[in-house]
Amino acid sequence: MEYLTVHSPILIVAIPLLAAFIIPLLSRLGSKVRDTFNVSLLGFVTFLVAILAIDIYANGARIYTLGASVPELARPEGYMVPVRIMFQVDGISIFMGLTITVVALAALVYSLQFVKNETGQDRFYSLFMLLYVGMIGLVFTGDMFNLFVFLEILSIAGAGLASYRVNLADAVEGGFKYIVISAVSALLVLFAIGILYGQYNLLSIAALANTMQFNTLDMIALAMLAIAFVMKLAGVPLHMWAPDTYAVAPAGITPMIYMSSAASMYALYRVTFTLYGGQFDTMPIGWVVIILGVLSMFIGVMMAIYQTDIKRLMAYHAISQSGYMLLGVGVGLAVLTDPVALANYGRDAMNGGIFHIINNALYKGMLFLTAEAIFFRIGTRDLNKMGGLAHNMKWTTIFFIIGALAISGIPPFNGFASKLLIYESVFRFNPLLSIIAMFVSLVTLASFTKVFYSAFTGPEMPAYREVREVPKSMIIGMGIMVACIIFFSIFPGLVVDTIVAPATDALIDQASYINGVMGAAP
């Protein structure tokens, strides 16, 4: 147990990586062995994430240095700066880790039945594990270059999975768009890393933050890093790939690709708060993030209500909800250098934005799964052709209603709790932004009413009389998410106190992140 706690940061990344290459060999023993292996392995990783989280909330941030003689030895004897590859796990990292792991577990269980009749399943699960490795590595890593490497891993695995159904023309097109924008934004990230390296000869985030001067080249690097991550997280006006890719990805993968967007959002926060924050006036970059967030909210939802393809509609909602997170954390970023405003409302806005990440991962992921459950049974994503499905798909309908109410911010669901935090704190920053956020919530409810009305209600259609409820593993996958949504709805105070507030503190408190690595420096 002690051993597992000490080594858990690397085991969480390394075990799925090992599994990704065992799966092709193991699938020769039959699909049942492989499925059991996958689920039990991800269950074990979930356990590791849980014990790491408990340890971090009790004892503070953790450092794991690869190849050193002890994990905490970031700087070997006689070195002023860290030289080894390093994982640095603090409150926000483990928060993202928990979110990603819960979604991955639900998506994996859901996928078991979904891909049962497809070919190339061992590659599907290999890439699934690689995608998980990419996301977890991205949120755990402590140096800029591994940020790039994990970003590329998740891009390649995500694009491969998005175009998994290569017999469909649109699936390949969505995957191609995803890999092009991922490759270009990742190369821009590498270019920015090169600019930073050229000035400071450092790669570790903590050491870079310690010596950051914020001259013109740093500004260029910041713009490239921030906007490349905004591209990956699909903020308007860089969002146009997202509906294309989310709509065509197979079920179980859409929530995962959505989570990789959330991991990119983490990278954006890490760069703006930890790498650059503190030493300069954060108001301009904060306003850039706020404006992108407001645009994402508004245009995302206005485009969503217009769609007639159920998964494109939900993809635009994913964009719109990302706007809330950008808005909440952007307000915190804008007032980062003003302690009074930060204590008054900045911290609450960030709490709301970060709480919204996990809420949205749960209900948005669940809604994607219900949309794909409909596709699984009736073979179309076109809302115009649907109707009366509630007669035969009762569980899916119940799950959809819960998800739709939660995403629209209807009390008592968890979406309301995080949106309330955002509304009331952003209102004191700028009332107009808060009013826009409330309006967006309204249109969200309207568009989900449209989906609910046209897909589930109405008389039983003759064409869909034979439609049955989806298989059990898909219901369990959605049920995991719904259980989490209900737990989060009833205990918002507990969740914010235990996991969200430490995440906010970790973002604001740049000094402790730096001291974690550079601490013993004379």
Partner: protein, 153 residues
């Protein structure tokens, strides 16, 4: 399929390409090169064979399932080496000082000692296996795809 001269010469030449690729892989820790570069050299030999014999001929001897196994085991060797250091820490170089690849690199002008580097030569070997199988599979799949065939049976 190209002419008989090309086929005969590429049949002879593939041996040297293989040896050169393996040399680059196994000397990766003392000279420029390493797993990826050596694997790419071997895969370029496969490209030559595909050009000389045609992809459908090569498909008979290089099966996708075999390549997949080699690729996976290469990756497993790499990660397994990293896991083997778990007694101390992940990626710990546990072979330093042992009789296996544990030598101390000599200083001063010297031809280089292969028997050094700890786990690094073994990792290079794993990466080399993975890259040669992976790249061969990629070029073979693309060649088959452009001639209208599929790789999997």
């Amino acid at each position: 399929m190209l002419s008989k001269i090309v086929r005969t010469i590429s049949n002879q030449l593939i041996l040297f390409i293989l040896i050169f690729g393996l040399y680059i892989i196994m000397h990766g820790h003392v000279t420029p090169g390493g797993g990826f570069q050596g694997g790419a050299v071997v895969a370029s030999g496969v490209v030559m064979l595909i050009a000389a014999f045609g992809s459908s001929e090569i498909k008979k001897s290089l099966r996708e399932s075999h390549l997949s196994v080699v690729e996976s085991s290469g990756a497993l060797i790499f990660i397994g080496m990293a896991f083997a250091g778990m007694g101390t820490i992940f990626f710990y170089n546990f072979l330093v000082g042992t009789p296996v690849f544990g030598g101390i690199p000599p200083t001063g002008p010297n031809p280089g000692n292969v028997w050094t580097g700890g786990v690094i030569p073994l990792m290079n070997f794993g990466v080399g296996l993975k890259v040669m199988a992976g790249l061969s599979a990629i070029v073979l799949a693309m060649a088959l795809f452009s001639s209208g065939e599929e790789m999997e049976e």
